[in-house]
């Protein structure tokens, strides 16, 4: 994906490098954290987790990020929640990117053309996008989440994925409209290659850069969306930890046990920040003119 020049531009980009470091650190924390935690993420410790005033204990060697309201290890829960958040965000982004890429490339490729003089594929697809954009994204996702009897990680990332592809479709449509007029694409069509082949072989590789950049930024948006769903109680059911849920459960304790809010809040902040900066770096590396 990144050629030598692009790689060089990326490594010179401080935002991109910082984003990579943050994302890598989060991934390592999510993978290794539960293994080194002193407690399981679902396990209350009434012996060591309760302070003398009956409140949860603060950060200590045994509880590096303190204990939560039912005296579980915030460190272990944060790490497990990180796994889940990253898994949901990346999976949802893959779904959204796939749908968005298909819709965007097809719409862009057929822009201005009508099948049987009537059917305007681009018009139909883009009006569908417009209609879906008219719905507030989080409201739509919450409505679907609330309608489901039981939510799991799979249902959450499918919901986010099938509702989150709109911006990618628009971006790729615009890019496809540029690419389709390039000489080698025109030549391929003139040689009688099927449209699907032309889109797959010639258009997709040329729009891959914007797709990757959009997808990277979309991961950040998905992390926020997942956290919002959990915060509002339509995400994954407890006791499974999620960052949004941890934020919700800790909010009443902001003054007395600030770690309950600071830890998940910081995790969300860093994840969003990291993926956004990584996306910025990739954009500057892959498309310096746009940058």
């Amino acid at each position: 994906m990144l050629d030598t020049r692009a790689r060089a531009r990326f490594t010179r980009n401080r935002s991109g490098v910082a984003g990579t470091v943050i994302v890598a650190a989060l991934v390592v924390f999510a993978l290794v954290g539960p293994l080194i935690a002193s407690h399981g993420p679902l396990e209350s410790d009434f012996l060591h987790g309760v302070a003398s005033d009956d409140m949860p204990v603060g950060p200590s060697a045994l509880f590096p990020f303190g204990a939560d309201r039912i005296f579980r290890d915030v460190f272990a829960r944060l790490a497990v929640a990180g796994r889940l958040s990253l898994l949901i965000a990346v999976s949802a982004t893959l779904i959204a990117s796939t749908i968005g890429a298909v819709v965007g490339i097809v719409a862009g490729y057929y822009e201005g053309k009508r099948f049987a003089r009537i059917i305007d594929v681009d018009g139909i697809l883009m009006r569908c996008v417009d209609v879906m954009l008219a719905f507030p994204f989080l409201l739509l996702v919450m409505a679907i989440g609330a309608a489901l009897e039981r939510t799991s990680a799979v249902t959450i990332f499918v919901i986010l994925g099938v509702t989150g592809w709109l911006s990618i479709a628009r971006v790729l449509r615009a890019k496809t409209m540029q690419v389709r007029s390039l000489e080698y694409v025109v030549a391929s069509r003139a040689l009688g290659q099927p449209a699907a082949w032309v889109m797959l072989k010639h258009v997709l590789p040329n729009v891959a850069g914007p797709l990757v950049v959009s997808a990277t930024v979309l991961v950040a948006q998905m992390i926020v969306a997942d956290s919002v769903l959990s915060y509002l109680g339509v995400g994954i059911s407890p006791p499974t930890p999620t960052w949004g849920r941890m934020l919700f459960e800790g909010q009443d304790y902001l003054v007395t046990s600030p770690w309950l809010v600071v830890a998940p809040g910081l995790a969300i902040l860093l994840a969003v920040w990291g993926f956004n900066m990584l996306g910025e770096g990739l954009r500057d590396a892959l498309d310096p003119h746009e940058g």
Partner: protein, 572 residues
Amino acid sequence: MRSILTRADAVAPALVVAAVALLAAPLGCDKGLPSPITGQHEGDPTPRQGGTLRLASFADLRGGLDPAVDLDGLSLGAIHLMFAGLVDYDEHARIVPDLAEHWDVDDGGRTYRFFLRTGVTMHDGSELAADDVKRSVERALHPSTPDSNATYFTNLAGYEAYAAGKAGHLEGVTVEGRYVIAFHLTKPDATFPYLVALHTLRPTCKSAGDRYSDTWLPCGAGPFKLLDGGWQRGTRLRLVRHEGYFRPGLPHLDAVEWTFNMKALAQRVRFENGELDIARELTQADTSRFAADPRWAELGVVEFDARIYGESMNTRMAPFDNVEIRRAVAAAIDRDHYVLLQPTRMSALYQALPRTIADVDPSFPAQRYDYAAALEHMRKAGYPYDPTTDTGGWPQPIDYLMYDQGIPALSSQLLQQDLAKIGLRLRLKMVSWAAFLALQERPDGAAMSQGNWMMDYPDPSTIFDKLFTTDAIAPDGSSNTAFYSNPRFDDLIAQAHLEMDPSVRRTLYREANAILCDEAPWAFTFGYHLFDVRQPYVHGFVAHPVWPLDVSGVWVDRGDAGWKDALGGGLR
């Protein structure tokens, strides 16, 4: 692309600031509590007239201000100030005369006759008479009244015909003179005075009419009255002193004012600034801070346990149709752990009755945490569980119905941990509050869920009748959420209603309570009470064992000096 991405260089500093603020803000918030605001005449116990008592709530008056309908706790507090009853509960939860000077019981407990005080002036200036009581009772129990507490009064003679619309008046309520009203029952009922003390039958002004209407300006004979415009729904309620109140010298206050829909955090800040006089809905974290601060601790008021909580097990659904499984659950729950969720508000509950009316005999066979016994009950149930290998137990996951508010969101997770240790694996099923109620009250709606009940009056029947008798089972909207049925238990409760001797009734209730503890349709978990904090200039504020709020004897001594101190040297 530019429309999606923002420049990281511009975003980064903002995010850094946000991160630092996130870290620093809570730490900076905890500056400790301010000093209480002292009164103008500190140490002088003479009650002072005047002033407004300012209160707040995160909720709104969902139940409205009509005593005839079923009310939430917030509405009940205001109703109690506006509507006096024939009898009331004193500070020890005993029945005492109020609008009635006295009463007698006749016909072997089938007739209760109340003799009204003369010269009681209602809010509209009219004098209370027995006709008003009869009209108010018929208005409250008329079938057109929505969500009434009518089921408590089915024992009144002629109730069935009246409720069915076959009779224009309630035969069992008779006016026997301008100031004498009699209630005739179909069978003796020792709990009837408690029912008369409820808000439901409290006399209303003639303007209330003889049928319920929500356009009526609430009007009664209580110490405070509502003026036109005094209630802005969702915003505030202001009740002013009823100058014609029949108890001389009361109330002391000019007015009581509530602000609604105020978050707990805002309530705490306003209370600290002296903009609220009593804080009743502090978060657990704030409650702990006030309780731990010696300047504030003595200003805290621990209310009575009026509400009980338990884990309701549907006795018609597997695995809880097996009494040994239910016994195992009751023995596996460590109630002391539950209490740690809100130590200043929760107290461990080992039996069906809250502390206010509980059987305090230490020999009473209550439900206790006993892990070994819980495992033994699992073995007797036919599902032995080996904790060392995590094998055995009930083979399928059990759905636990819950809603995502307050205590249940956390206590359900503790329950899940406790029951996993005996081989019962709960799967938490989170639904909305409305869906929770609908499912919990259906025979096949939920295998297990959290039950809670606020006692309506201080007698065990308020809990036993509604939660555990066969009569309380309904195909929809069942208050017996365990769908528990035991003929012996039903018989004991029926006998207790007929029994006029308090000591015999206590014995009957004790046996009934013991049956519940043993057969465990609920695993009783905790009782719940509020912890209020008042400013030092608020006097006479005490917890009431029945009413959620009783400020009828409160007086305030708020001086300018206190205000200036609170506001940093001058009014802003």
